[in-house]
């Protein structure tokens, strides 16, 4: 049987695929490879990796299920999709925890070889769901992948365990065939990735090819699919995650400022990848310092900043809490510092691999004393690059700490990034004081109020700074009541004046209307896509997504007043909403999701429509 000329090929605009299996099944790797293939084929892509915090929960258990969702499309997309059209399931636990999300009529590809009694029992199935008719709503395709890989690798001398671990590449091969991806690039990639273990590279290649061939010959599917390249703006692209983009911007900043970079960090999910990335790149002039704890990470960074480096410290929520006293020191010492908080669900250890936006108030108000800092929040993985450059520019030009609020969705999610031409990036201006005449450490730029940055090694500028209140100008320790009042205002005014340099917040849609959707951070995708959907339905809805949370851009107040209703959608209890209500006395409503999962587009659409029709609903708080 010679196969695929009998199988019709259907053109589809986009597809959402979710790969689910045990955390040992390599779902993240498979998802990454499928993403790369889609990106190289020119599709627009968005991904959402969703995995447990445990490195290896007991095999086959519900707790150990790891998932990777991606959407690739011939049109512009902003999210990894609400619900998958296709689900690839590697074991019963994965089926049980994910099947409710699959669209009715969706394609369900299952490795039947993993549906043995023990795994069924671990997943809590009394009957085999593949046989009891419970999956009748889906287009079920069963393949005994476990058996196929065993046959494919017979005589290769691999252990049963190693053979079993190639199953993900079989599934990948099958998907490559289904979506018409060329296998050659992947085969090369496999050999690169497993260069240190040629026998594994060889096994994965064989299995990948076997999966591809099986798709071609076995007539499992009623159709194969093609997703045309997206009409992205011309340019060179690469696929990038938020953590990569943040790290890349940090290295770029060193080159743009012609300054050494110091990155102090302590391992913490989901921020560690930034540390890993920077640790491998000392040739770019970055000192990546893995400190003994979060406090040392921030204070060592402050020391480096005092020494004239561009200093950044990175962490997630619990580590951010530990850094707060250090951030306060940077506030009073008026030293530049960027603090990355890749937010995750809290409180306490919470859900370390799951996203949340619940540290905005911690960033704004989490320190002792009146201790204002600037806050910047990237909105998409690629936007992490521009946002990080903004954060660094603000820190060094305004001599203040800047908190950079990413989250787990952005950190691990990927999308195509149009690579900026190196010469298009603005240099970062760093001015170190050299002249000794008229110097004192707390003299300020009259416009920005930034104090001078005088670094050790400069003759004639020897001075002492520290955590005690400073007399303005001289920088001497001062307990003078008037001076403390004055300095408290100065530190606030310094942050407020950053607004003078910011462009107005963009309003997507019309500048006035019935409803303004407001968000920040990783909710950009679902909010933008929901706005498009609502506008298509004829609603007068616009979207304002804030990159700058402190200070707010100067047009924010006016923008809010031009809409009949304001809906702030956040993955927290309403922290930005509280801020907007506090600052502008606006009757903003909230849509709040605390599930460790991003918003679905339909959830936002639903909440917006409820508000537009003024029907009070339980979901709107």
């Amino acid at each position: 049987m010679s196969g695929n000329d009998e199988v019709p090929v259907e053109e589809i605009p986009s597809v959402v695929i979710r790969l689910v299996g045990d955390s040992g099944d390599g779902m993240q790797l498979t998802g990454g490879e499928l993403t790369r293939a889609a990106a190289l084929a020119g599709n627009d892509i968005a991904t959402f990796p969703d995995f447990p915090a445990e490195i290896r929960a007991p095999a086959g258990s519900l707790a150990g299920v790891s998932g990777f969702q991606l959407q690739f499309s011939s049109g512009e997309i902003f999210t990894a999709g609400d619900a998958p059209d296709v689900m690839v399931v590697m074991n019963p636990a994965a089926l049980r925890t994910n099947i409710r999300d699959l669209e009715k009529g969706g394609l369900l590809i299952v490795d039947t070889g993993a549906f043995k009694a023990k795994n069924l029992e671990l997943a809590g199935y009394a009957e085999n769901p593949l046989e009891d008719g419970s999956l009748a709503d889906y287009r079920l395709v069963v393949v005994d992948i476990s058996k196929h890989v065993t046959l494919t690798l017979k005589g290769e001398g691999l252990s049963t365990k190693d053979v079993f671990r190639t199953r993900n590449f079989y599934a990948l091969g099958l998907l490559f065939w289904l979506y018409g991806r060329s296998p050659e690039a992947e085969l090369e990639a496999i050999h690169r990735k497993f260069a240190k273990r040629p026998e594994i590279a060889n096994a994965n290649s064989k299995v990948f090819q076997a999966g591809f061939n099986f798709g071609e010959t076995a007539e499992l599917f009623e159709s194969a699919y093609r997703v045309a390249p997206a009409k992205l703006p011309a340019g060179e692209y690469r696929n990038i995650t938020g953590n990569e983009a943040s790290a890349l911007a940090i290295l770029a900043a060193g080159r743009l400022a012609d300054k050494p970079i110091f990155y102090g960090s302590y391992p913490i999910t989901p921020a560690s990848d930034i540390l890993h990335y920077l640790s491998a790149q000392p040739r770019y002039g970055v000192t990546a310092f893995q400190a003994e704890d979060e406090i040392a990470a921030v204070t060592a960074s402050i020391g480096a900043s005092f020494g004239g480096s561009i200093a950044i410290t990175g962490t997630s929520g619990p580590g951010f809490a530990l850094k707060q006293e250090g951030i306060g020191l940077a506030v009073i010492a008026e030293l530049p510092l960027v603090v990355i908080n890749v937010q995750r669900a809290g409180p306490s250890t919470g859900m370390p691999t799951k996203p949340e936006q619940s540290d905005l108030m911690q960033a704004l108000y989490g320190r002792n004393g009146e201790s204002p800092v600037a806050i910047v929040a990237p909105s998409t993985p690629a936007d992490c690059f521009d946002s990080m450059l903004d954060a660094i520019r603000i820190a060094v030009e305004h001599m203040c700490p800047v908190v950079y609020l990413s989250d787990a969705t952005l950190a691990n999610g990927a999308e195509p990034w149009r690579i900026p031409a190196p010469e298009s990036l603005q240099p970062i201006q760093v001015n170190h004081r050299i002249e000794a005449d008229g110097f004192s450490p707390y003299i300020r730029d009259p416009n920005t109020l930034a104090r001078v940055w005088a670094v050790p090694g400069t003759p004639g500028l020897e001075h002492r700074i520290g955590g005690l209140e400073k007399e303005d100008g001289s920088g001497n320790v001062s307990y003078d009541p008037e001076n403390h009042q004055h300095m408290t205002h100065i530190r606030q005014a310094k942050i407020d004046r950053i607004a003078d340099r910011l462009p107005p917040a963009e309003i997507f849609g019309d500048p006035e209307g019935d409803l303004l959707l407001v968000g920040w951070g990783s909710t950009f995708g679902p909010l933008r896509q929901a706005t498009i959907a609502l506008r298509d339905q004829g609603h007068a809805v616009s979207h304002m997504h804030l990159r700058f949370l402190n200070p707010l851009q100067s047009n924010v107040s006016e923008a809010l007043l031009k809409f009949r209703r304001v809906l702030v959608a956040e993955m927290n209890m309403g922290q930005l909403r509280t801020l907007l209500r506090d600052r502008f006395l606006v009757d903003a409503k909230g849509l709040n999701k605390m599930q460790g999962q991003p918003f679905q587009i339909r959830e936002v659409v639903h909440a917006a429509r409820e508000l537009l029709t003024e029907v009070p609903a339980e979901t709107i708080k």
Binding site: Y237, G307, E325, R464
Partner: protein, 337 residues
């Protein structure tokens, strides 16, 4: 660079010194200011970093660069500063509460990494700035406002802690032994790597007389053992006492030189690669024991900064200086027309 020969006065800042009258910190400040000009380092290349506590006011009084940071974090701030600026001479001034309690973690990791910093730990065995609570070096049973019935915890052996953290230079002196204090500051300054100096210092307000045995001219020679490299561990007014090795217990013990026993004479060797002897000296504590002053250990090992610079150089040699274009244009990019 200033070519003028510097004097003690050049290191005195314009800030009024605000320690209590009679505080041992005055003597330490004076000796540091006195030794500084001898080091041949320009003032602008010297930074004093401190945490919180009485001792931590020190940077304000030095006419160099200075950073009075937050409680316990001076070793971390200084580590970041010196990694970023290995050209500077960076000094950490701290106390027993600052370094050994709230900042204990930073201290041990700074020593373990062998960061090229000079650490002056003023040990007065009490919290002074917060008015007299017991500290991690207070003698067990010490009655204070927060231990009215006597403190319950045992004190740290400061030097044993430093040695246990792999410090490459460990020394001790006392605020009243001016010449010895100066000599130790010089030795500290000349060591490459983490250099740790404990300075026994009297707090006249909250712990007065805690080191009286080491200060009273009539009896101090019976209580001070001045370590001399290559020499036996002799002390006492008539030089008739000695710390000798009890081989059955593998510890130093105080012996009379005119009485022979089974013990073995030990000659001090500060450069021994193995820290066992230094550790025995650090643990030589008790009723009949003298307090060893001097350099317990001084060994040269690669510093954290040297290793960090070498790593960067090796990467640049192998792969070149990274350019912005190289950074942005990854090999797996694709083009959209």
């Amino acid at each position: 660079m200033s070519s003028n020969v510097l004097t003690r006065k050049d290191f005195i800042s314009d800030q009024a010194v605000r320690w209590c009258p009679g505080c041992g910190d005055y003597a330490i400040l004076a000796q540091v200011q006195k030794v500084m000009p001898e080091l041949g380092i320009d003032r602008e290349n010297i930074v004093f970093v401190s945490g919180i506590g009485c001792a931590s006011r020190f940077p304000y009084y030095m006419n160099t660069y200075g950073f009075h940071t937050i409680h316990g974090r001076a070793p971390a701030v200084a580590t970041g500063l010196h990694l970023a600026r290995p050209d500077l001479s960076v000094w950490v001034v701290t106390g027993d509460g600052d370094a050994l309690s709230i900042g204990g973690n930073h201290l041990i990791h700074m020593l373990r990494r062998n960061v090229d910093l000079k650490i002056l730990l003023f040990n007065n065995k009490v919290y002074g700035l917060t008015k007299g609570q017991f500290s991690p070096t207070s003698n067990q049973g010490m009655k204070t406002k927060s231990s009215p019935f006597g403190s319950k915890a045992r004190p740290f052996s400061t030097l044993a802690l430093a040695l246990g953290a792999e410090a490459t230079f460990v020394a001790r002196t006392v605020d009243t032994e001016t010449q010895h204090l100066q000599e130790m500051i010089r030795r500290l300054a000349n060591h490459r790597g983490s250099a740790f100096l404990e300075i026994l210092q009297n707090c006249p307000v909250f712990n007065d007389g805690v080191y009286e045995d080491l200060k009273d001219r009539k009896i101090k020679s019976d209580h001070l053992l001045i370590l001399e490299n290559g020499e036996p561990l002799v002390y006492g007014a008539d030089s008739n006492r000695e710390l000798r090795l009890d081989t059955s217990a593998m510890r130093l013990y105080p012996a009379r030189r005119d009485l022979s026993d089974d013990s073995v004479e030990v000659r001090h060797n500060e450069a021994a690669p193995d820290a066992s002897l230094a550790m025995m000296l650090a643990r030589a504590e008790g009723e009949d024991y003298p307090v060893p002053l001097g350099v317990l250990r001084a060994v040269r090992e690669p510093t954290f900064e040297e290793l960090s610079l070498a790593e960067g150089q090796a990467q640049r040699d192998a792969h070149g200086e990274g350019t912005l274009a190289e950074l942005l244009y990854s090999p797996d990019r694709w083009k959209v027309d």
